[in-house]
């Protein structure tokens, strides 16, 4: 195989697709990027068996063929001088040569046969405007769990309905739900648990492709996301997602209106001395909310903001980072915080009900 390509384009594509390559796998070929050149064009692809990414490469094919190059080829190409880069491989040889300007590299390569077959790219799906997809995914992905012992929670529930898309994620300490309207949803509802990492990569793919829409195909076991000419396929997570609607209380003892920017600024200040797992203490008294943090190591800080609170004083503790993430993710200038009691979850909502963030409290000692 022999192909010639613009340096920046090749470096960009190798790096983008290489994100799916696995550095930890026991199958060495998975740490590589596959380049396939035939009469239809050139495709670069990588996979760690969970997630695969592929994208076309604009190149002049002088001799068709298939090669695998290590992920670090992206770094090599990026550091070459601007201009054309030639990639060449003679069938049966264990090296791929990369030349550009006066630099020349011979990279040890795996046989293309060791590379796993990429998942079939089939079916048409639901097309979402890129901004709808991004703003929805962005607000929930962070709430997914990173703990592999409960696989379902490492995913995001994606539900497509005729007139809306809903994404839900929870790590069991907080739960984020966002719903956005759709004009061309599926006639029958579809849903799947998509690994959070895949959703994050799909967001990146939109940016990479400069796409203004993304097509989502959900099948029984896999999900495909097409953004422009970049295609991401992911294994779906098998299991039952928590019935989140059952977890969200319908009524709150106090439903407080807050200035989102102000609360965020206060949290930003006091979070500086809060360590991981330190609760922020939210004391609600007549007309006032006082947020305080006590750090054994650094000392303490507190700040009050006016709030329309009346009734019996109440104190509730939250993880400061979780709370801040929820306030950040809500939209609009005003924020509503619903609370029931110090041991019941609190609910954050933005201007409207499209985003809801349920947060479990931390038991306070006093």
């Amino acid at each position: 195989m022999r192909l010639v390509c613009q340096k920046d384009h090749l470096a960009g594509r190798l790096a983008a697709v290489g994100r799916a390559a696995s550095t930890k796998s026991t199958v060495p070929a998975l740490a590589n990027v596959l380049i396939e050149a035939d009469e239809n064009g050139v495709v670069v692809a990588a996979t760690d068996m969970e997630l695969s990414l592929r994208a076309p490469l604009e190149a002049r094919v002088e001799q068709p063929g298939t090669v695998v190059v290590p992920k670090l080829a992206a770094d090599i190409v990026r550091s070459m001088v601007p201009g054309e880069v030639t990639l060449e491989h003679n069938e049966g040889e264990g090296v791929v040569s990369l030349t550009g300007g006066s630099s020349s590299f011979a990279l040890n390569s795996h046989q293309p046969g060791e590379f796993p077959a990429l998942p079939a790219e089939d079916g048409s799906g639901v097309v979402l405007p890129a901004d709808v997809f991004l703003s929805t995914a962005d607000r929930v992905v962070r709430a997914a769990s990173r703990d592999d012992t409960r696989p379902v929670l490492t995913g995001v529930l994606v539900r497509l309905e005729q007139d809306s898309v809903t994404m839900v994620a929870t790590d069991s300490y907080r739960l984020a739900v966002r719903q956005a309207p759709l004009t061309s949803g599926p006639s029958q509802p579809q849903q799947a648990i998509v690994p959070a990492r895949a959703l994050a990569e799909a967001q990146r793919a939109i940016a990479l492709a400069g796409a203004d829409q993304i097509e989502v195909v959900l099948s029984q076991t896999s999900g495909t996301f097409r953004a422009g000419d970049v295609v991401l396929t992911t294994r779906l997570i098998d299991g039952q997602f928590i019935d989140y609607r059952q977890l969200i209380p319908e009524q709150f003892t106090h439903d407080l209106q807050l200035d989102r920017g102000e609360l965020l600024a206060v949290l930003g200040r006091i979070a500086v001395i809060a360590q991981r797992n330190t609760p922020v203490r939210m004391a609600l008294t007549e007309g006032q909310m006082t947020l305080s943090v006590v750090s054994e190591q650094f000392g303490e800080g507190h700040e009050s903001i006016p709030v329309a609170f009346s009734g019996e004083d109440m104190e509730i503790g939250f993880n400061v980072e979780f709370l801040r993430a929820g306030v950040e993710s809500a939209e609009g200038d005003t924020l509503r915080l619903g609370v029931i009691s110090p041991l019941r979850p609190g609910l954050l909502r933005g201007d409207d009900d499209t985003f809801r963030y349920l947060l479990m409290p931390i038991r306070l000692n006093t």
Partner: protein
């Protein structure tokens, strides 16, 4: 005042615990025979998945033997930090259902349910919730004592749920070997065998006076009571954060090679690191325990200028202590202990709380009905 209510004691045991934790992390190995074992020449199987057990592989078997029995088994090196973390999650979860809990090592506990209404339903709910929340299957034995409960949880594993009274246990286990009884180790078993006692039924039939002559008054009578499944030992609930954390290993054969001993200290230190990390605890005192072939047991400790929690430092101090002691005889047991924890009260998770520092989590017993829509 002693509690006059009939005692209800459960023994909860995680099925193939290490293997389960590995399978949760590597679902692609599900259904394959998996063995968790180190890769040293003397390494032993710490757990085997039920698929591997079907080939006759068992815990504590040398890894080499296991691989002869089951040559296509997938061997995974143990990751004690991950097991400690999974263990913490399992028992914290159990703690939300059962409050009088006594931890016995990483994968088993006793629970006292005396006076609890509908103990079976409570236990079944706990088992289902732990499985849902952590992926770990518990086996449960239920009886009037720790002894009966412990023997029951082994019956019908995996996912056992066995309850028996004392008399029934004495009858059902009569044909089992005496080693089945906790407290009877290889040495006692050997001495019983010398008296012609191999099975629990034979122990029951033995003359208590003979046993007392042979084993001493107290242990002899205790053995006889054990055979009849008499046990009134209490479930000692969690006394709060431990003052020290230790990890030790008894060798299959006594060892003399200093390099092997130092390597073992390294492994023990890593295991220790796993269990201190979860509470964010750091200790200032590192100690070693050495038991020689003649059962002399020696400990040596050193207090450091500042608290430590990393395996490398603990291992370095432990090795220095071992070199200074220079065991005069072959060694049958080595242990490493970390003590002198700083800011213990502030950092250690309170027992029974679902997560560190009181963070509450959502109930996981909502299986959801969304896919039905």
């Amino acid at each position: 005042m002693p509690d006059a209510r009939p005692r209800v004691i459960a023994h909860l045991d995680c099925d193939a615990f290490f293997a389960t934790v590995e399978l949760l992390r590597r679902p692609e190995l599900r259904g394959l025979p998996v063995i968790v074992a180190g890769n040293g020449p003397r390494s032993v199987v710490t757990t085997a998945s039920y698929e591997a057990r079907a080939f006759g592989v068992g815990s504590a078997m040398p890894a080499a033997t296991a691989l002869r029995l089951c040559p296509h088994a997938v061997v995974i090196p143990p990751d004690h930090a991950a097991y400690s973390e999974a263990s913490r999650r399992v028992w914290a979860r159990v703690g939300t259902h059962l409050d009088r809990l006594q931890r016995m090592g990483i994968d088993e506990s006793y629970a006292d349910l005396t006076g609890t209404p509908r103990p079976v339903a409570v236990l079944r709910a706990a088992v289902a919730d732990v499985l849902e929340a952590t992926g770990v299957q518990l086996s449960v034995g239920l009886g009037p004592s720790r002894l009966v409960a412990k023997c029951c949880s082994d019956v019908g594993k995996p996912a056992a749920f066995t309850a028996m009274g004392r008399e029934e246990a004495a009858r059902r286990f009569a044909s089992a070997g005496v080693r089945r009884l906790p407290g009877i180790g290889p040495r006692s078993a050997e001495r019983l065998a010398a008296m012609g006692i191999h099975r629990i039924g034979e122990l029951q039939a033995a003359d208590p006076d003979d046993l007392a002559r042979r084993f001493g008054e107290r242990w002899g009578r205790a053995l006889h009571a054990l055979g009849w499944f008499h046990d009134d030992s209490p479930v000692v609930t969690d006394p709060g954060p431990a003052k020290s954390v230790s990890s030790e290993v008894t060798f299959d054969e006594d060892i003399t090679d200093p390099a092997a001993m130092e390597e073992t200290l390294g492994h023990l230190s890593e295991r220790l690191e796993g269990s201190v990390h979860r509470g964010g605890r750091r200790g200032r005192t590192v100690a070693i325990k050495v038991r020689l072939s003649d059962w002399t047991t020696v400990t040596r400790a050193r207090t450091l200028p500042g608290p430590v929690d990393d395996a490398a430092t603990i291992a370095r101090v432990a090795r220095t202590l071992l070199r200074e002691y220079a065991p005069p005889l072959p060694v049958r047991l080595l242990g490493v202990r970390l003590a002198g924890f700083v800011d213990e009260a502030a950092r250690a998770p309170a027992p029974g709380l679902p997560d560190p520092a009181g963070q509450m989590s959502m109930p996981a017993d909502h299986p959801g009905n969304m896919s039905a829509m």
